[in-house]
């Protein structure tokens, strides 16, 4: 069965390592914070100027001067730091953020990503997404494998305007975990109960299937 958004987040959390500084995008990526393994030191960076993002505040404890990049009220943790937006993107561009997780509308087999604009629809802006994808060494995309019409979002080439080129390293979709390699999407794991055939049929870009593909362990 396809994963729900919480399971996608949970699977992505398995990619975390002790000592990682991580930037989580809006949507499913934000949920990854809930699955950081106990005892593992992971510091969350919020690109509006905070390192060490804590949980949402309890009722009455919210501070309008303390929000995350999704404009949600949040809290700090012991060792948190505030800084301005230039330093924030400075640490992103200089590769100090170890992992970036973000959503996507389309990803190409070359690792191009489109997630900011749909021609003909109101454009909200790219926010920090273009900086993040152009800078991060390690980008995981959290996404649905297909759009609501059932069309693949893993493509030979993105149809939508790009956010960045050749940058996505790994995809965790509701159906599969895939690496983006020089030759295309390499299937690593299947969602529990999802067949390789289903993944093949729902992947429009070049898909590499080698050997037995294990089920994800969540």
């Amino acid at each position: 069965m396809a994963l729900d958004k919480f399971q996608i987040a949970k699977r992505i959390a398995k990619e975390l390592k002790d000592g990682y500084y991580v930037n989580l995008g809006i949507g499913i990526p934000t949920l990854v914070a809930n699955y950081i393994p106990e005892g593992m030191n992971v510091v969350l960076q919020s690109e509006n100027g905070l390192l060490g993002m804590g949980p949402f505040p309890k009722e009455g404890m919210q501070d309008p001067d303390l929000i995350n990049a999704g404009k949600q009220t949040i809290t700090t943790l012991p060792g948190s730091v505030f800084f301005d937006s230039a330093m924030s993107f400075g640490m992103i561009r200089s590769g100090k953020v170890n992992l970036t997780v973000l959503g996507a509308m389309e990803v190409s087999e070359k690792g191009d990503i489109a997630n900011w604009k749909i021609p003909g629809k109101m454009v909200k802006g790219m926010g920090g997404a273009m900086d993040l994808v152009a800078s991060a060494k390690n980008i995981i995309v959290a996404m649905m494998h297909t759009n609501p019409k059932g069309e693949s979002k893993l493509l030979t080439q993105c149809a939508l305007p790009l956010t960045g080129v050749s940058c996505v390293k790994k995809i965790v979709s509701d159906l599969a975990v895939l690496d983006v390699t020089e030759k295309g999407f390499k299937l690593l794991e299947r969602a529990p109960g999802v067949t390789v055939d289903e993944i093949i049929s729902k992947t429009q870009g070049n898909l590499i299937v080698e050997g037995e593909i294990p089920e994800m362990i969540l």
Partner: protein
């Protein structure tokens, strides 16, 4: 060298039609509420506004949009504003969208006397259209120019009579960067203290970058997206 103004009205009195203004803040966090209120009251129009966001329908820069005071908006994300969308689609409003880090760094460049920067953000996308691309150590970068703004309006937590500023929490965001980048920088602060009351090690924006300072009033500090844990 008196930098102290009585209020927003006095501090912004010479902001004229057609100028370029930077606004500190991210979302509604750390925005110069008093200065915006004054501009709304002045009805000064035809403005080019540089701000990460464009406020919401009934707060922040949204209030200026409602009065059609904005000719052009330069932002990274403008998604919370129906009037904005209407004006954009009808062609009344020009919009230039810029990656957030590029926006921040172009402000810093202006304040640091760097005429331009190279950033990888936007390479291979429509943001790169018409821009110079240059490769350093095998990676491509876009040349992006430092901003040139007539005024910068910023909001700080504490300030002193010499214009030194300290920001609080994530209300810092673009404020210290824009404070450095305005030809004339106007700071509104929650607390205005005599020189010497701020620890010189803790000041975020040195007063040399601030031309005018005043104590703001009636801060609403609206929360855009209240999210609580159980």
């Amino acid at each position: 060298m008196n930098k102290i103004f009585k209020n927003a009205k006095e501090a912004t009195a010479d902001i004229k039609e057609g100028v370029t203004i930077m606004f500190g803040g991210f979302g509604l966090c750390g925005i110069p509420e008093n200065c915006i209120a004054s501009l709304v009251e002045m009805k000064v129009s035809n403005l080019t506004c540089i701000s990460n966001n464009a406020g919401v329908d009934d707060f922040g820069i949204g209030l200026m949009l409602h009065q059609k005071q904005v000719k052009k908006m330069i932002s990274s994300y403008v998604g919370e504003n129906a009037e904005f969308e209407r004006q954009l689609l009808s062609g009344e409003l020009e919009v230039e969208l810029i990656p957030q880090g590029t926006l921040a760094t172009r402000c810093m460049a202006a304040g640091y006397g760097l005429p331009a920067i190279y950033t990888p953000a936007g390479v291979g996308t429509e943001v790169a259209n018409g821009k110079e691309i240059r490769s350093f150590n095998g990676k491509d970068y876009l040349l992006e120019m430092a901003f040139d703004a007539d005024f910068a309006l910023v909001k700080a937590w504490k300030g002193d009579t010499l214009g030194n500023l300290i920001f609080k929490g994530t209300a810092r965001n673009f404020n210290p960067l824009m404070a450095m980048a305005g030809k004339i920088t106007i700071a509104e602060v929650e607390e205005l203290l005599p020189a010497g009351e701020l620890d010189p090690n803790e000041i975020h924006t040195p007063g040399i970058y601030v031309n005018r300072i005043f104590k703001g009033e009636n801060y609403e500090k609206r929360i855009e997206n209240l999210t609580l844990s159980k």
